[in-house]
């Protein structure tokens, strides 16, 4: 029996990036408007057709502010803050809302100018009475590099992963970026260069960490019949899942395991596919070691085996599991919340429109988002060429 949410299938019927990189001639809201118009246009739809709006990081009551700007008055709305993975969560929630008749055309959108504004925060607030201010800030933990460094150090200690294994992730992402004209950095990169970059918080070096750029995007989720006049091929949402765990790093019982175990299990079960069926993997590569954890937690390899799994160049162009095919957060774009761009790249690959970086014959893609501090949140979306 098909899953109740997939009995009447939903599709990503439009997908578009905002301007990327360093954006000086747009506001965040105008960036979203441009991407929304383009994504809706692909589906043969307009803003007047949108009856559900999902956003994060667009200010207080974000969907309200964005809805006003776009002239959208949704009957279903959400600005849940699930960090950078919010957009995978939103696909999951939009599936549910569409399946139960609560909306027909869902717009999921986001933009940031964190590079131009230089407003990336690096520590929790001091003396605001919060638990973070009491038990994290006084110890000088960088937000989020310190959190992820504690995860990486424990993972390497427990499973014997090496700096070379981490560096391989950065090199694979950079090789893909070299094939993407929109990528922020495209110069060739070697394992040795990654390992020679400055140490920030052991074991994480500068080139183990994602970019800080401007950017964002928009996707449109609907039933296929709502995109009858679509100019682009709709991509089917086969399955989705989500979970979240700790906020404060000391509350995590095991920093080598992410909530991707739960989100991946649910998404693959709903989709009726296995990790071995995946042609393209778009992981949230905020830090190199993070990709190793996702590979294990989603079941692409066994626990503790990801270092060996990637070291044969498996994630690189031409490898058996093409991953981070845009160049990822490490080399293409990381606008504070990468999740929307993972979905857009997965759609491009499944439509066969990824140009030089196209994975031949891509049928099934997985976008896997994370958010918060050291894998607080996770959401997995399985997409398929129809």
């Amino acid at each position: 029996m098909p899953h109740i949410l997939t009995a009447s299938p939903v599709y990503i019927v439009g997908a578009a990036e905002t301007p990327l990189g360093k954006v000086l001639d747009q506001s965040e809201l105008s960036m979203v408007a441009l991407a929304a118009k383009e994504a809706l246009g692909e589906a043969g739809l307009g803003l007047r057709d949108v009856d559900a709006l999902f956003t994060n990081y667009m200010g207080e009551e974000g969907s309200v502010q964005l809805g006003e700007y776009l002239g959208v008055r949704p009957r279903y709305a959400e600005s849940s803050d699930m960090g950078g993975a919010s957009f995978e969560f939103f696909v999951h929630h939009a599936m549910t809302a569409i399946a139960t008749g609560r909306c027909d055309v869902a717009l999921i959108a986001y933009a940031s100018r964190q590079r131009s504004r230089r407003n990336r925060k690096k520590a929790a607030a001091a003396l605001d009475g919060s638990l973070s201010a009491q038990f994290e800030t006084p110890y000088g933990i960088h937000f989020p590099i310190g959190h992820y460094a504690l995860s990486a150090a424990r993972y390497m200690h427990q499973y014997g992963a090496t700096p070379e294994h981490l560096a391989e992730i950065a090199v694979a992402a950079r090789q893909w970026a070299g094939l993407n004209p929109k990528a922020w950095v495209r110069d060739p990169l070697t394992i040795e260069e990654v390992m020679a970059s400055p140490m920030l918080c052991d074991p994480l070096r500068k080139l183990d960490c994602c970019l800080v750029t401007d950017g964002g995007g928009a996707i449109v989720v609907a039933r296929k019949d709502r995109a009858r006049d679509a100019a682009k091929r709709p991509v089917r949402v086969l399955g989705a899942g989500e979970s979240h765990v700790q906020w404060h790093v000391a509350q995590c019982p095991d920093l080598t395991v992410t909530p991707g175990v739960a989100s991946g299990r649910e998404a693959f079960a709903m989709a009726g596919v296995k990790p071995g069926d995946v042609d393209v993997f778009e992981p949230y590569d905020n830090f190199t070691h993070a990709v190793l954890l996702y590979l294990e937690d989603l079941g692409f390899c066994g626990k503790g085996e990801a270092g060996a799994f990637v070291s044969e160049g498996r994630l690189r162009p031409g490898g058996s599991l093409p991953s981070m095919t845009s160049g990822g957060g490490l080399s293409y774009c990381h606008p504070g919340a990468l999740g929307i761009l993972l979905l857009i790249e997965a759609v491009r690959q499944l439509r066969g429109e990824a140009g030089d970086r196209q994975v031949p014959g891509a049928e099934i893609a997985v976008a896997h988002g994370t958010g918060g501090l050291a894998f607080s949140t996770a959401s997995t979306v399985v997409l398929a060429r129809d």
């Binding site: 605001d128 110890y139 310190g146 424990r154």
Partner: protein, 134 residues
């Protein structure tokens, strides 16, 4: 009950953590203990995470533990701490895990540590750790 300065008023505590920080003034490291199941927890909550009972008491921790994970911070983060410094997660022998600093040149995961106290102007001493002797 003395007329202690309330750290909650300074934003350095909240009403549920005030007893912890007041104990820090006396250089005592405390955690919550569930009177029903005996498990220890930290930070404090009005219920036991293990059994959901609501009767909890503050008890002194031995102050010894083991490093669960460790990083050397080599970038500027805080005006109060000059890099490099050691940032760690320490598992207390009673069970709870704390984020803390290790006051040492170097340390390793699995090393045994003992609580120490860092003075702070106008705020309670901060529990940090040093490598255990032997």
């Amino acid at each position: 009950m003395t007329d202690n300065l309330s750290f909650s008023d300074l934003g350095a505590a909240d009403p549920t953590t005030e007893p912890f920080w007041q104990a820090c003034v006396e250089r005592r490291l405390t955690v919550q203990r569930c009177t029903a199941c005996g498990s220890h927890q930290f930070y404090p909550r009005p219920f036991c995470l293990s059994c959901e009972a609501t009767e909890l008491e503050w008890v002194g921790a031995k102050g010894s533990g083991t490093i669960y994970s460790l990083t050397t911070v080599r970038m500027p983060v805080s005006e109060d701490l000059a890099p490099p410094y050691l940032l760690a997660l320490v598992d207390l022998d009673e069970g709870p895990r704390l984020l803390t600093n290790i006051e040492a040149e170097s340390a390793g995961i699995g090393d045994r540590v003992t609580v120490a106290w860092r003075r702070r102007d106008g705020l309670p001493p901060l529990p940090v750790f040093r490598l255990s002797a032997g």
